[in-house]
């Protein structure tokens, strides 16, 4: 968590206005050395703008950025030890792969031999040695992506910014490249900030994730924490799927709360959150995979009757959409662990949906 990483990049109250429009709103972040940090958010939420302020292409309208203790205000892009991998890769079309990778080294004090060695090492790192003398239009999309990565890494930046590094690749290549990216990061030890709008990509790659919405950071934390303990309804619904219902606190019983959920028509129990008071109205959210589906009333708390409206069978698991007595829907994701035995629920079957009190998430606001 934020406390145990050595602060390396500090973003303090950074905002960016384009005329009357605020693209980034008061962002505060601390990022540790050697971390892979993901900025996750929908299209137009200000991810690229934040990245461009880190790279120096835009000046923050207010707030400051510290890198390794040094204030970056007014430092032009060419003097920042920060490199960027562009969303479009932005390879130089008139230079070979080799020249592209070596371009940044012109500005380093090093001998020609050192320079060639570095380029060779980089080509090796991204496995492009056979393509060294080709031009960008002579290589494939995945190879271009690797050239862009090698070019940004060649000068050994302190911080590497990757803007949607995998968006232009097809699905299979994307999965493969994710792991390659992680292994390269491990070997080089460079701090990565990865922008993405793909939540799975963010969770696979990142040590920590910041979820952004309309220019503001909603929550920061490791993938597990952000997924299991979303801080807001936006974060809860942005990461994975989730069903949300209005609920009212009836009673507080030790660590648990008894809630009246109009959609369920029966009171349910959920693990209480700090500061809960009786009568408070909030949101109860449950993820589909935390729910169990039964053909007979199960023992234990939180069993809600319903009828199967829709089902999708994927083989190893199934997704059910269950109509509750109130008419609202709930999604259940069940693993088909057993073969045969009790037959799986079918269309229009009467079923009971159950969950542990700890599985329910209570959200304010």
């Amino acid at each position: 968590m934020a406390a145990d990483v050595e602060p390396f990049l500090r973003i303090e109250g950074v905002s960016k206005n384009f005329g009357p429009f605020q693209a980034v709103k008061d962002v505060n972040l601390t990022i540790g050395k050697g971390e892979i940090f993901a900025l996750l958010g929908g299209s137009g939420c200000g991810k690229t703008t934040l990245l461009r302020m880190l790279a120096g292409f835009e000046e923050p309208s207010s707030g400051r950025i510290f890198l390794d203790g040094q204030d970056m205000t007014g430092v032009p892009p060419w003097e920042r030890p920060v490199h960027m991998m562009f969303q479009s890769y932005a390879l130089f079309p008139h230079m070979t792969v080799e020249k592209n990778i070596g371009y940044g080294l012109k500005h380093e004090r090093m001998t020609a031999a050192e320079r060639t060695d570095r380029v060779r090492a980089m080509l090796d790192l991204v496995q492009l040695t056979p393509f060294a003398v080709r031009k960008p239009h002579q290589i494939s999309g995945g190879q271009r992506q690797r050239v862009a990565l090698a070019r940004a890494l060649a000068r050994q930046p302190k911080l590497l910014l990757l803007d949607e590094p995998l968006a232009a690749l097809d699905k299979k290549l994307r999965e493969h490249t994710q792991f390659e990216l992680m292994s390269i990061q491990e070997r080089t030890g460079v701090t990565f900030i990865v922008v993405t709008h793909d939540q799975e990509e963010a969770m696979t790659l990142a040590d920590r994730i910041a979820v952004m919405d309309r220019g503001a950071v909603q929550q920061v934390g490791p993938p597990g924490e952000v997924y299991e303990h979303p801080a807001s309804r936006f974060v809860a619904s942005f990461l994975g799927s989730i069903s949300q219902y209005e609920a009212r606190v009836l009673r507080i019983e030790g660590a648990e709360a008894l809630l009246d959920v109009p959609a369920f028509e029966t009171p349910v129990r959920a693990t209480a959150i700090p500061g809960l008071v009786e009568g408070e109205v909030l949101t109860l959210a449950v993820r589909p995979e935390k729910l169990a589906i039964h053909r007979h009333p199960p023992g234990g708390p939180n069993a809600i009757p319903g009828e199967i409206k829709d089902l999708a069978y994927f083989g190893k698991d199934s997704l059910y959409r269950v109509t509750l007595p109130s008419g609202q829907l709930i999604s259940v994701h069940a693993v088909n662990a057993r073969r045969g035995g009790e037959a799986r629920p079918d269309w229009y079957d009467k079923v009971w949906v159950a969950f542990e009190p700890a599985a329910a998430i209570l959200l304010r606001g």
Binding site: A55, G56, F57, P76, P77, W78, E79, V82, H83, M84, F86, Q87, S88, A90, L91, F92, P93, H94, Y103, G104, K106, H107, E108, F131, K135, H137, Q138, I139, S140, G141, G142, Q143, R151, A152, R155
Partner: protein, 279 residues
Amino acid sequence: MRRSPVFLITVLCFGFAFFYIPILSMMVYSFNGSRLATVWGGFSTKWYVSLLSNKQVIAAALLSFKIAVVSATFATILGTMAGFALSRFRKFRGRTLFSGLVTAPLIMPEVITGISMLMFFILTANWIGWPGARGFSTITLAHITFSMVFVTTIVQARLGQADRAIEEAAMDLGSRPWQVLWDVTLPTAFTAILSGWLLAFTISLDDVVITSFTTGPGSTTLPLLIWSKVKLGVTPDINALATITVVVVGIGVALAGWVMHRAEKRRLADERMAFSSND
């Protein structure tokens, strides 16, 4: 299916006949043995012989070529600078006036440009003693001035379409803005700059009006020579000159087309190669 548009094809044929019959007629009559330029008097190549042995013509062609090369080169340098400034520097003092100055020569009638240049040169000769005699230098200065704005138009259009991320990437990798200009912006706009040079070259090579105002005794460019001959009426050796021009230009254009076609084919082959090496 589109029906074949008979009317349009007919007009197209008529149009191309209109374009090329005068030129072909000129080429045929360049082999005319008769002294009367428009009456056929048997096949002969004597006009070519007389043309190519005419020292005046050769000297004028050389002078035109020299002026065109020098003025196109300077026009390209200055025009590219102006195009870069207008497309990359959002704000600077006097930007409005500058962009006006870059478009005005495009629409200024040549007579007016010519007269204003001549008045300018006469007045500066009176005030500061320069230019002592009009000729190569004054013609070249005038040609640079009115052809640089064509280069600017071409370069500015290309830079406006260019991918800015490539320039930002160079900056990100440690290059200062002027190094980015040199390393990335200029090389990627190379074809636009080259076509700017070619345009400036042809404009200079072809100009009569402005040259006629800015020239001085002894400096006769090829168009001026033709102009002075043609003003007196049709003369057969001009037919020969025209034929040579058309053939040279035709070969040049066909060659350029062939080179472009080859480059296109190579690009397609490259793309196929990239696709097959996809791993």
